[in-house]
């Protein structure tokens, strides 16, 4: 059952209703352009009144997003978008709140708010543009840069183990996690729609290409030659098959996941693990989120989507309970005169 408190529109909205008049200032060729197009496409489909969208961001290239959407928007300070969005959403329950953010913005400086908003399961839609670099400050490594990566601030290569976004989300009690690539706007829109419907915090990790400072970071999964073997599109209730002719699949062994070939060693489609995005057990979702070439394909689509009470909803209920309680104060005059008072 969905718990959405946002007023729906009666108009037929289109992409144009959300296009802003601002000049888009991202670098030509930046993956952000396609993401913007995908989001502009999906907003009319969601069905809320156009005034009910609110886009809140921090600082970074990705965080310029609010300027490029015609909605209520807040381009705030580095790392704090999720905390600010928390306030927006908790106070004003009629808003659909979206947080475009970067791997630096939400995983470096904003890491604490990120894990807490997820834990609280506040109904925000977080779009994490993961380009594995700090774009706006011109190319320092980020918490998702692969170990050994040479960047401006790591002339000998980084010596840090990167976060896997999905793992961190699950570790923080995430209820919705999906992963998409910037070069498939339609798929992005589709997944965003799922995210929008989800009650609670939804995280969509977008593998985004920064042409200027980290060009080709995702090449090992996006390149034509490798993509069939290195991408697994998850569908709920469907077996996890991939490869050019869907000839490969994933099974669960005692040591975790394993890639198998249909037909080899007597493996048939029935042996293949069926995706259950609603499983309360995060262990398998974690293993899926962690998969990565060369040994595994990367998992795309909705990895986890489970029902769990949202903070928003529980707060509404507590307020209702409090207001219905005849013993509680009903106005400030009541409050001022409650307890021990005396007349002089």
């Amino acid at each position: 059952m969905s718990y959405k408190t946002i007023e729906r529109t009666t108009e037929q909205l289109t992409k144009e209703d959300f296009a802003s008049d601002q000049m888009v200032k991202w670098c030509p060729g930046c993956g952000n352009h396609a993401i913007l197009a995908a989001v502009e496409n999906v907003f009319p489909q969601i069905g809320y009144k156009k005034e009910n969208f609110c886009v809140v961001s921090g600082i970074g290239c990705s965080s310029r997003f609010p300027y490029y959407m015609n909605t209520y928007g807040f381009h705030s300070i580095h790392g704090r978008a999720n905390a600010i969005a928390t306030g927006v959403r908790l106070f004003n329950r009629g808003l659909s709140v979206w947080v475009p953010t970067g791997d630096g913005d939400s995983l470096a400086i904003g890491g604490n708010h990120f894990i807490h908003v997820i834990r609280r399961n506040i109904d925000l839609n977080i779009m994490l543009f993961n380009n594995e670099i700090y774009g706006l400050t011109k190319g320092q490594y980020s918490p998702t840069s692969p170990m050994g990566k040479i960047t401006k601030s790591s002339p000998q290569g980084t010596i840090e183990h990167p976060f896997t976004v999905g793992e961190l989300v699950l570790g923080a009690q995430g209820t919705f996690f999906a992963r998409v690539i910037d070069n498939k706007p339609q798929f992005i829109s589709q997944v965003m729609l799922e995210a929008a419907k989800h009650d609670g915090t939804s995280i969509v990790e977008i593998l985004q290409n920064c042409v200027i400072f980290n060009n080709g970071a995702h090449k090992y999964i996006t390149d034509k030659e490798v993509r069939d073997n290195n991408q697994l599109y998850l569908e709920d209730g469907k077996p996890m098959l991939f490869g050019k002719d869907k000839e490969k699949g994933i099974i669960l062994g005692n040591n975790g996941l394993q890639v198998v070939k249909l037909g080899e060693n007597g493996i048939t489609e029935k042996d293949i693990l069926v995706h259950d995005m609603k499983s309360q057990n995060p262990g398998i979702h974690l293993m899926l989120a962690k998969m990565k070439p060369p040994y595994f394909p990367i998992a795309l689509g909705v990895i986890r989507s489970v029902e769990s009470p949202t903070y928003d909803q529980l707060l509404d209920e507590q307020i209702k309970t409090a207001q219905e309680n005849p013993a509680t104060v009903k106005c400030v005059d009541d409050l001022l005169n409650s307890g021990d008072t005396w007349e002089i």
């Binding site: 601002q22 009144k49 156009k50 005034e51 009910n52 609110c54 809140v56 600082i59 609010p66 300027y67 015609n70 909605t71 209520y72 928007g73 807040f74 381009h75 705030s76 300070i77 704090r80 905390a83 600010i84 969005a85 928390t86 306030g87 927006v88 959403r89 908790l90 106070f91 004003n92 009629g94 808003l95 604490n112 708010h113 807490h116 707060l315 507590q318 307020i319 309970t321 409090a322 207001q323 309680n325 509680t328 104060v329 009903k330 106005c331 400030v332 005059d333 409050l335 001022l336 005169n337 307890g339 021990d340 008072t341 005396w342 007349e343 002089i344």
Partner: protein
């Protein structure tokens, strides 16, 4: 009541209850002050918590206290106490310096065993070694007597021993000639669900009262002058509760619901805890993961249309610095309550100080003016919280409300106002579909922009932390635009100077000496000035509540005096602010940085020493 006693007439009296953290001193203190208030006294209280939750039994580190000032004029807590109730050697040791010469000390001889004496750091027993000869010491076997009474009524030994505070309280009620009717009612209320406990406590208290009466342990009893307060309904209130309620009142009066995003920190936590109780008023309280999320969620809620507040103390205000700048540049109204404590860093969390003023005025990157107001007493916290919310919303600017641990945790009588009598609050809401709406269009008179709340039809817009162009608010790096916006943000705050209450003088409007105070020290400074005036000295006093901006008549007021002495609990933050604001005037300063309030005596000395 025995009549041969000497009766001491007093305008006011200070009683301090001290003991181990678990000894129930806070309960004793509040029962006593409530009783006094109901008997027609003005009251002021101040709890004195140890830094540890429950430090080892019988050690000085574990001493907890509750001080009560009752009588005619109790604007302040009182420097030293007339009566000290000390439950054990450690609490005596820690508090003896606060007892007036000749004052009364009531203590429990049962607690003075060798171990307890050693733990308290005594080498000889102070009850026996003559070291207390300047005081009037009463030290019966309190535990024994209390325990006996309670056990007879069926309490187990451990709980029974813990009623000793009630025994003491009974004795204290006796020497102040208070009737036990009121405390009995208060006990009934407090132990509503535990009737037996209430009964036992009442009995023990009665025993203490009778013991004091029968055995005539006191040489003298006190008659405290009651007050003639303005007619009205009264209650006792701490500054922190008053702050919470003031914010709730402002929410009701402005039609904007309250949001509080906060992280616990001593001594501000009580504001969060109090507001968390009032969901029935629609107040949403968000206990954030840290102070940054506290203020950021507040900024988000403000953007979304709330009367949005965050409460904290020194280290927390430090953490909010960056986000406060965001509220300044986006011109969103938020209230930041800082219950000041001893600094720097973690400093003295349970002590009070006025040393966050600099940070409130200047602690942000870039040119980032906020409104700053400071409450002067526990009950004034109500009005200043209301005021801060009104100023913030009506000016679309963050407002910092400075209180301190001393007034935040202390209490005093509060004449209950009617919400309808409080000033109106008019947030500058933008109208749906207003074709002329621009995010940074300003009211030409006040320079205030409009508040267009997300969800409102026809007002979609974007704001942010980058410098924005005048009117439409889009990002701008234009040099002259920046200069203009910097000025606008400053001027809209400065223009409040004529709208806030004008600065008043207590005493002559001009003359030789003006004493200046701000914030939580008003009571002590006013008392010192008053006492000196009563001795015929021509000294005036002005107290600042509006700090940024200061009222527009400030220079007028100040310049009529030859000598100006600024008193504050820091090394001179306000006096320096006065110096930079009124460079043609000369100021002297008196400062104390001990984590303690001023005493009236030292203030009088300081005024006396003016050059």
């Amino acid at each position: 009541m025995s009549t041969k006693k000497q009766i001491i007439e007093r305008e006011s009296v200070v009683v301090k209850f001290v003991g181990d953290s678990g000894d129930g001193m806070q309960l004793s203190g509040t029962l006593f002050s409530d009783t006094a208030a109901l008997a027609g006294n003005d009251i002021a209280t101040f709890p004195d918590f140890p830094a540890e939750i429950r430090a080892p039994h019988n050690t000085v580190a574990g001493v907890s206290g509750y001080q009560v000032h009752i009588g005619k004029e109790t604007r302040i807590i009182g420097d030293k106490c007339d009566v000290l109730v000390a439950m054990n050697p450690a609490s005596l040791k820690a508090n003896l310096k606060w007892v007036k010469m000749g004052g009364t000390i009531l203590t429990d001889v049962d607690a003075y065993d060798a171990i307890a004496l050693e733990k308290a750091g005594y080498t000889t027993n102070p009850l026996e070694d003559g070291s207390l000869s300047s005081y009037f010491v009463v030290s019966p076997n309190i535990t024994t007597m209390a325990k006996e009474t309670a056990m007879q009524l069926g309490m187990d030994m451990k709980d029974a021993a813990r009623t000793k505070n009630m025994f003491c309280l009974g004795m204290i009620y006796y020497i102040f000639s208070f009737d036990l009717g009121t405390p009995f009612k208060l006990l009934d209320k407090r132990f509503k669900t535990k009737k037996e406990v209430a009964e036992i406590n009442k009995k023990v208290m009665e025993k203490g009262f009778n013991f004091a009466e029968t055995l005539e342990v006191f040489e003298s009893i006190y008659h405290v002058t009651t007050v003639e307060l303005p007619k009205g309904r009264y209650r006792n209130i701490t500054g922190n509760i008053a702050t919470a309620w003031g914010l709730l009142a402002a929410a009701e009066r402005s039609g904007r619901k309250l949001f509080l995003g906060s992280y616990p920190i001593t001594p501000a936590t009580d504001i969060l805890i109090e507001l968390a109780k009032h969901k029935s008023l629609g107040a949403k309280v968000f206990q954030a993961e840290d102070e940054i999320a506290g203020i950021c969620s507040t900024i988000g809620a403000s953007f979304a249309g709330a009367l949005a507040c965050t409460s904290t103390s020194g280290p927390g205000l430090s953490l909010k610095t960056e986000a406060l700048g965001l509220a300044v540049i986006t011109e969103l109204p938020i209230v930041v309550v800082d219950v000041q404590r001893g600094g720097p860093s973690t400093g003295l969390p349970t002590k009070s100080e006025q040393s966050d003023l600099n940070m409130a005025l200047f602690g942000r990157n870039g040119e980032a003016p906020c409104i700053v107001v400071a409450a002067s007493s526990p009950s004034d916290c109500f009005y200043q919280a209301f005021n801060a919310a009104k100023l913030a919303m009506e000016t679309m600017t963050p407002c910092i409300l400075l209180t301190d641990g001393y007034i935040g945790q202390g209490s005093e009588l509060f004449r209950i106002p009617k919400v309808a009598d409080l000033p109106e609050i008019h947030p500058p809401l933008a109208k749906p579909n207003d074709p002329d709406y621009k995010p940074y269009r300003r009211n030409p008179e006040t320079l205030v922009r409009q508040w267009a709340i997300p969800g409102t039809e026809g007002l979609r817009h974007r704001i942010g932390g980058l410098e924005k162009s005048d009117l439409d608010g889009s990002v701008s790096t234009d040099p002259l635009n920046h200069a203009k916006m910097v000025n606008n943000r400053r001027d809209k705050v400065q223009r409040l100077a004529t709208r806030v209450p004008q600065q008043e003088v207590f005493g002559e409007e001009s003359g030789e000496i003006l004493v200046v105070s701000w914030g939580g020290t008003k009571g002590q400074v006013q008392t010192a000035v008053k006492e000196m005036r009563e001795k015929g000295q021509k000294i005036s006093h002005t107290h600042f509540t509006n700090i940024m901006p200061m009222p527009s008549n400030t220079e007028e007021v100040l310049k009529k005096f030859k000598k100006i002495l600024v008193c504050e609990l820091n090394t001179g933050q306000f006096v320096n602010y006065l110096r930079m604001t009124y460079p043609h005037l000369q100021f002297q300063q008196y400062n104390k940085v001990q984590g303690l309030p001023f005493t009236v005596e030292e203030l009088k000395q300081a005024i006396h020493n003016i050059q």
